[in-house]
Symmetry: C2
């Protein structure tokens, strides 16, 4: 069991102030490790980085087609969005379309990260609702599948057909039995797996064109939807959105809570999974950018790349006081 390795450093003046350690794995489409840092067998909770897997049953069941979902809905099903108008309006429309309401959600109300939407709510004295929850697209997908299956209302329970379908798909694409599940921030089950298993799943998405069957077809559609709508997968200013745009369609990216990150790289048939062990998002964003630069998929000098792996830290007067950067020796 290898220790996590330094991946990102915070420097202030001439002093190394903080360090983020992590594990990372790159797998090929046979599920074998191409390169790894730290412990590829570390058991992890991929959190929202598993959303494209959780969306597989929505597509492969035929539910997405039965309800004529567009690619933008599929992108939202894989999203941890900002709760901006571009997200909430589409989720509201989706609910209307499938004859469901916000009350049917089980994700909980969350203050939107989008500042404009947040301020509008504050100044109008309105409370945020479940549609603002960053996972409302995933849950709209769950409700669509559930309507298609005709199952009960408590779709986030582990025994519910929606979640059992997610578990089956998860273990299949990861190529491993999950050692257990937890309750995620949005109340849905989140399945544990080895980091290699998660990277293997991402390589499955990367090379799904070459596999037969509805699952592989679903994987291709979901991956392409993510790449086609980077602004729906996260939102303006966010790493997933900005780095997918910077990679110009060559990579699908998805963050997860507690510093998880994945990358799907179709042209190389590679999958990447990484976890910063202290749970700091800034560390995970720096590390995934460094890996994508190493793989030739991101320009090290693109502003979106620099913002994550060589970003000046500025203080309240705009003075440059430090930098976050790739750890020496990583990638």
């Amino acid at each position: 069991m290898a220790n996590p390795v330094p991946m990102a450093e915070i420097w202030r003046g001439d002093f190394l102030e903080s360090v983020h350690h992590g594990h990372a794995v790159i797998c090929d489409d046979s599920g074998q490790i191409v390169e790894a840092w730290g412990d590829p067998q570390a058991v992890v909770l991929p959190r929202s980085s598993s959303k494209m897997i959780q969306a597989l049953p929505l597509v492969e069941s035929g539910a997405a087609d039965a309800y004529r979902l567009w690619d933008e809905h599929l992108a939202l099903a894989c999203a941890s969005h900002n709760g901006a108008a571009i997200h909430t309006e589409r989720v509201q429309g989706w609910l209307d379309h499938i004859g469901r309401t916000e009350d049917d959600f089980r994700c909980g109300a969350q203050e939107p990260r989008d500042i404009e939407m947040r301020n509008a709510l504050i100044c109008s004295g309105k409370e945020p609702c479940q549609i603002h929850n960053n996972c409302s697209g995933k849950h709209a997908g769950f409700l669509t599948l559930n309507r298609h299956l005709g199952a009960g209302s408590e779709y986030v329970e582990i025994s519910h057909p929606v979640q059992q379908a997610c578990l089956e798909a998860f273990e299949d694409v990861c190529g491993e039995e999950s050692p257990g599940h937890v309750v995620d921030g949005c109340s849905a089950p989140n399945f544990a797996v080895s980091l290699q298993g998660m990277a293997r799943a991402m390589a499955y998405f990367a090379a799904a064109e070459e596999r037969p069957g509805v699952r592989a077809e679903a994987a291709v559609r979901l991956r392409r939807a993510m790449v086609a709508y980077p602004e729906l997968v996260a939102g303006e200013g966010r790493a997933c959105t900005e780095l997918m745009r910077a990679a110009q369609g060559r990579v699908a990216l998805k963050t997860g809570a507690e510093a998880f990150f994945i990358a799907i790289i179709p042209e190389r048939k590679l999958g990447v999974a990484l976890k910063i062990t202290d749970g700091s998002t800034r560390g995970a964003e720096c590390a995934i950018a460094a890996i994508l630069v190493k793989l030739g998929l991101l320009d090290a000098n693109h502003p979106a790349t620099l913002k994550r792996m060589n970003a000046p830290i500025r203080n309240w007067r705009g003075i440059e006081t430090g930098v976050i950067r790739r750890a020496a020796g990583f990638c």
Copy 2:
């Protein structure tokens, strides 16, 4: 050079999801180490945990008395406050009293952390100003000292008499020469030191009654002001405020950016300094609480203690999904 040790763990269900490592030192009033975890010689930036040291020149110069500052002003000089009305009104009054305005500050404008104040600004369309900056009390102290000294307006420059006085006091109470300085979030210099040096300084504050001279007298006044006004040192809901209240006057506490924390313990003549190496505040709060429980200064079952070192993590529906707790084997 010892590695940092696990201090705080984030569990979700049966899975260890994230871990925070750190260094910590407890020093006695002779500056010797009573107990240490990790590397006591680690060079650190104490950030806002050094504010009571930066306030020493304000008091020992006679400036605080010349301007008839109260203990609440001294507490604010040591504060990283929320920018709530109780903080901003006092800082505004202080500026008026010394014949200075917000324009004289060099700390920069910062959105207040206090939700009520933040929302009031947003809904009235007003921008936050430098008085809302969490360091505005420290800077009001700098301006007061500067007025007393009759020095130039650029009081955050390292060569300015205000900062030279801070450096002299810092090296004296730490018992070490500082290896250098950086620019802090509020644009003031922040001096590097070993973790033991910082713990030694906190022991100086803890046992200052027994030392002769104006510096030691100033240390006693500042420490007592912090303990007397815990709500001014941080704000409602914050760790410094809640843990000082829970310790019922027996400890002065101060957090610093990037997961620094100090404790001053007069009854034991001890000083504590700790740094979580990944910079996560949740880890530093958990670790300082664990050390204070171990020293018998905090009740492990007090709500303020539980909130930091055995706190349920709840999701958007209020469901308990995990826990942050002291790492097994630490303290």
